[in-house]
C-alpha cells in the first residue's frame, strides 16, 4: 500500500526532526538555561535532529517553562495558534506542570495545562538537561 508507506515515512521524518520553540511564561530561568544548555556541546540535541527555532511557524514542539502568569497567558495561546499542525506542547519543570512553588501567587494561573493541552510533562525543579531530552524523546515515541 503506497498510502501506508507514505504515512510511515512521514512518521519517521517527524520523529527524526522535531524543531522546538521555547517560551517562558513565568518561570525562574532555571529550566530555561537548562533548555538552552541542551543545545551546547555536552548534550548537543542536534544529534537527535532537534533544532531550536526562532519562529512559531517553523516549530513542531512548544517547550514551555514556568507557570502561566496573567500577562503571558494570551501570548502563550497566540504562539500555540501560530504553530502549524501537527504540534505538541511540553511542560518543562515542576512549576509549568502544576504551578510549583508559585502555585498560590496572586498573578499565577497555574500550570501550562490551564491554557494549552499538554502532551508531555517533565517535572523537576529545575529539570536536568537529560530529563528534558528524555522527555522530548518519549514524546516522539508516542507520535501516531
Amino acid at each position: 500500500m503506497p498510502g501506508r508507506m507514505v504515512c510511515r515515512i512521514v512518521r519517521w521524518a517527524r520523529r527524526k526532526s522535531p524543531w522546538v520553540l521555547h517560551f517562558n511564561s513565568g518561570g525562574c530561568n532555571g529550566c530555561d538555561i537548562e533548555i538552552v544548555d541542551t543545545l551546547t556541546p555536552r548534550y548537543d540535541v542536534e544529534r537527535l535532529g532537534i533544532l531550536k527555532e526562532a519562529s512559531p511557524r517553523h516549530a513542531d514542539v512548544l517547550l514551555c517553562t514556568g507557570p502561566v502568569t496573567q500577562q503571558s497567558r494570551d501570548r502563550l495561546r497566540r504562539i500555540y495558534e501560530q504553530m502549524p499542525a501537527p504540534r505538541w506542547v511540553v511542560a518543562v519543570g515542576s512549576c509549568s506542570c502544576s504551578g510549583g512553588v508559585f502555585r498560590d501567587g496572586y498573578n499565577v494561573l497555574g500550570g501550562i495545562d490551564q491554557v494549552l493541552p499538554v502532551d508531555m510533562y517533565i517535572p523537576g525543579c529545575p529539570c536536568r538537561p537529560e530529563a528534558i531530552i528524555q522527555g522530548i524523546v518519549q514524546l516522539l515515541e508516542t507520535i501516531e
Binding site: Q70, Q71, Y106, N107
Partner: protein, 145 residues
C-alpha cells in the same frame, strides 16, 4: 559615610522633628522622617554628602498605616522611614533628584496604592494593565491574607 554628620545635617534642616535613629542589622541605620520631609532630606543628602545611590524603596502595609523605607547607600546603609496613612496615601516623588527611583516608585504605587506626586511616568510596572483587584500587597480588611 559618617552617620553622625548626616544626622546632624538632617536635625539642622528639620529642627522641629525628633529624629530618633535606630541601628538595624546588617549595618544599617533607620531614620524616621515625616513624609513631607523625605524629598528635602534626600536633596540635602545629595548636595552635602553626594549620597546618590537609592537601593530601593520598600513599601509595607502594616494594617493600620503604610510604611515607606528609602534604602540609601553610601559606603553604609541609611534608610529613611516615612509613615503614611492608609487612605489616600501620597508622597512627593524622588525622580527629579534620583531618576533611578522611577521603577521603585511605580512598584510601590501599584502594590500598595500609594500616589507619588509628580512622577513623570506613573502606571503599572509589574501587574497587568487590566488589574482590577486591590493592590496586592495591601492587607485585607480584617487581617485575612
Amino acid at each position: 559615610m559618617n552617620v553622625e554628620l548626616v544626622l546632624e545635617a538632617l536635625r539642622e534642616a528639620f529642627p522641629t522633628e525628633a529624629l530618633e535613629p535606630r541601628a538595624v542589622p546588617v549595618d544599617e541605620t533607620f531614620v524616621p522622617l515625616p513624609p513631607d520631609c523625605v524629598h528635602p532630606a534626600v536633596r540635602i543628602l545629595i548636595e552635602r554628602f553626594g549620597l546618590r545611590h537609592l537601593s530601593t524603596i520598600t513599601g509595607e502595609d502594616t494594617g493600620s498605616e503604610i510604611v515607606l523605607l528609602y534604602h540609601l547607600w553610601h559606603g553604609r546603609g541609611l534608610t529613611l522611614r516615612a509613615v503614611l496613612p492608609r487612605d489616600g496615601a501620597h508622597i512627593a516623588t524622588l525622580t527629579d533628584l534620583i531618576p533611578g527611583a522611577a521603577f521603585y516608585e511605580r512598584e510601590v504605587s501599584e502594590m500598595l496604592g500609594v500616589t507619588f506626586d509628580g512622577h513623570p511616568d506613573p502606571g503599572t510596572l509589574l501587574l497587568p494593565d487590566n488589574w482590577d483587584g486591590e493592590p496586592p500587597l495591601r492587607q485585607q480588611r480584617g487581617g485575612v491574607q
